[in-house]
Symmetry: C2
Subunit: 420 residues, 2 copies
Amino acid sequence: MQVEIITIGDEILIGQIVDTNSPWMAAELNKAGFEVVQITSVHDDAKQITEALELALERAEVVLFTGGIGPTKDDITKQTLCRYFGAELVFDARVYADIELLLKNRMRAINELTKSQAMVPDKAVIIPNPVGTAPITWFDNGGKVVVSMPGVPYEMKRAMKYEIIPRLQQRFQSQSIIHKTLLVAGYPESALALKIADWENALPEEIHLAYLPHFNIVKLRLSAAQDDYVSTKNEIDRQVALLESILGDAIIATEDISLEELVGRYLLVTGKTLATAESCTGGHIAHRITTIAGSSAYFKGSVVAYNNEVKSSILGVDEDILNQYGAVSEEVVKQMAIGVAGKLSADFVIATSGIAGPDGGTNEKPVGTVWIAVGTKESVVCRRFQFSLDRQLNIERTTQTALLMLLESEVSNHYPLTPP
Amino acid sequence: MQVEIITIGDEILIGQIVDTNSPWMAAELNKAGFEVVQITSVHDDAKQITEALELALERAEVVLFTGGIGPTKDDITKQTLCRYFGAELVFDARVYADIELLLKNRMRAINELTKSQAMVPDKAVIIPNPVGTAPITWFDNGGKVVVSMPGVPYEMKRAMKYEIIPRLQQRFQSQSIIHKTLLVAGYPESALALKIADWENALPEEIHLAYLPHFNIVKLRLSAAQDDYVSTKNEIDRQVALLESILGDAIIATEDISLEELVGRYLLVTGKTLATAESCTGGHIAHRITTIAGSSAYFKGSVVAYNNEVKSSILGVDEDILNQYGAVSEEVVKQMAIGVAGKLSADFVIATSGIAGPDGGTNEKPVGTVWIAVGTKESVVCRRFQFSLDRQLNIERTTQTALLMLLESEVSNHYPLTPP
């Protein structure tokens, strides 16, 4: 069974907000065994909404709308769907009571705008929304289903999880959709494709392969949608095993996780700690690591030494070395690493020093020159990189590369780590 | 002139990635005077791509594709567009030379897959992509334009900025779209709307007002699309002056800039320096500050003291105070601020300590409890906040609030700072 998502709102089409609802919905629908065919974003415009709906119904059995059902004048989804389905807006006393209760709990009184949310289409099933004033409407039409939900992410998510997906599963046959993602390090995308070409050519037709490069990692995603879950799962497992025999340690994870999460897992299982000394990354590595819940168990902290004084005074980098070699050098990044290991008593360390740009480059060390050190107090590996001219990109690439170098170092004894 | 965006890739429709390209493109197109009518995301599927293109061309003059032009088998956009436009793929020696050079700079050799990127449609204008192997193709067809770009964000952004938007502006008439954004602090959105209601009601019809709340800032955007640039500009300036007389110091900037950029400007003009001591923000404040080019002139660095030992050993927080009040307390955050001011010899400091979650909350200090300190070595202001249950949101909110507290402190003598 196929689904389409239509998101409504001018703010999407003028680039004021990033639509994070659709990917969340798509991932949840996939897990439940439904395929998303298309995602469409349109303005708060009756003609556009109607046309998008008509086209979506030609391709899919289910159309899910988000957005455009607030109480203010600019929101017109409800009225537009009523016109499309020939429905009338009628007052719903149960919805009214829900809204009254919700506002009371928020210490607010109902007013004429919030009251108008209790006017609902007479031809739709009305699904309560206990966390917002706009109810969810479910139209059943010639065997197809059209649902209109709020655009507020937590209201939409609650509705999807507890109401829409269970009802879709009851109503439609769902397939077993299996996605398996492998993280591969050490190969540019095209070299990886050549390396596994024979394997890829021999893949059974029902398994689809996708390459998703991200800096120095390529994500390989195997997907299959089949009626028989067990045999599909077995076939995917068999193919992953074949890939492992071709790629070996280049496969650094057998699931879709971030490098900071992978680093965190190794540190957790080994009971080791990490600290960073950052110059050109300016705290970005520490930030990435601390986005992971529970990172306080293994992350000691960071010294962001943006200034040379700080490199000397806190990290103990030798001033003569700084003067002789400059801040962006093997000698300095090594001393930063050793310094932070001592100061923060961490088992593993990462240090960075580079010229993020756009200014500060020289002939010898152009913008994008970066030194990264990873290791322990006793043993540090340093590497020089030449990244790009773009400041933001240099920060991100340095972070990604440093995390990968840490994973390739002794922090892990072998790849891949089986998920706990 | 109207534009549609079509993003291609299974990864979007299974929710593996969030499409951040489209909002960025939409915002840039708007600035350049072009309206985006619809954004459509489809699978790597020839039939779907073709149908989406046909429909888009019925509604818009320009269709911009991103994604699906990598060298691997799953990417089929180029072949699909060739079939649609009746074009042949031909070898382009200039593109080949570009690819060879790019790969050489990355210390890689060309292989048969990267070489295949030099096969380009004979009916398209080929626009070089100096930061990736896939060139940009521009089809001109019956007065309408179809462009295919890489999905890799920095490749797409570079192409849009330096090639596509300038060419569209040359080719199509764009209106003078004037956007003027004011940053307002200290008012929730609805309170701000009430405060300026009389002014808003008296706005000339050609000026459109939008409210964009972002944490504790509301961006007010005045927009006008007119043929006569000068009189529109004058009218917007007059309205801004009126708003300034109503809102006074609550307007912290009269252009659309980030708080870290605003902080940077104050520090630059006053010749002062900044350092941070971060616990719950884990380096995010330092990261935001160092995304600004030239920040090394005023940012000394940060001590990310994720661990209590580090708070004592490096920042000099009294262990008795830590034990008595806990790390998330006024006393500790104050000592962190004073400690980092001394250690890093900075004029201004920010310190944070809080429970980002999802674990670690107590009855007294639930998840979302955050202490922020800002000031100088001599005088520190501390405030307690109760944010949300969401870790990522707590980190971002704390950062945003801390930067705003710094702006409200003595770092600036008055608002707003006239852009240099």
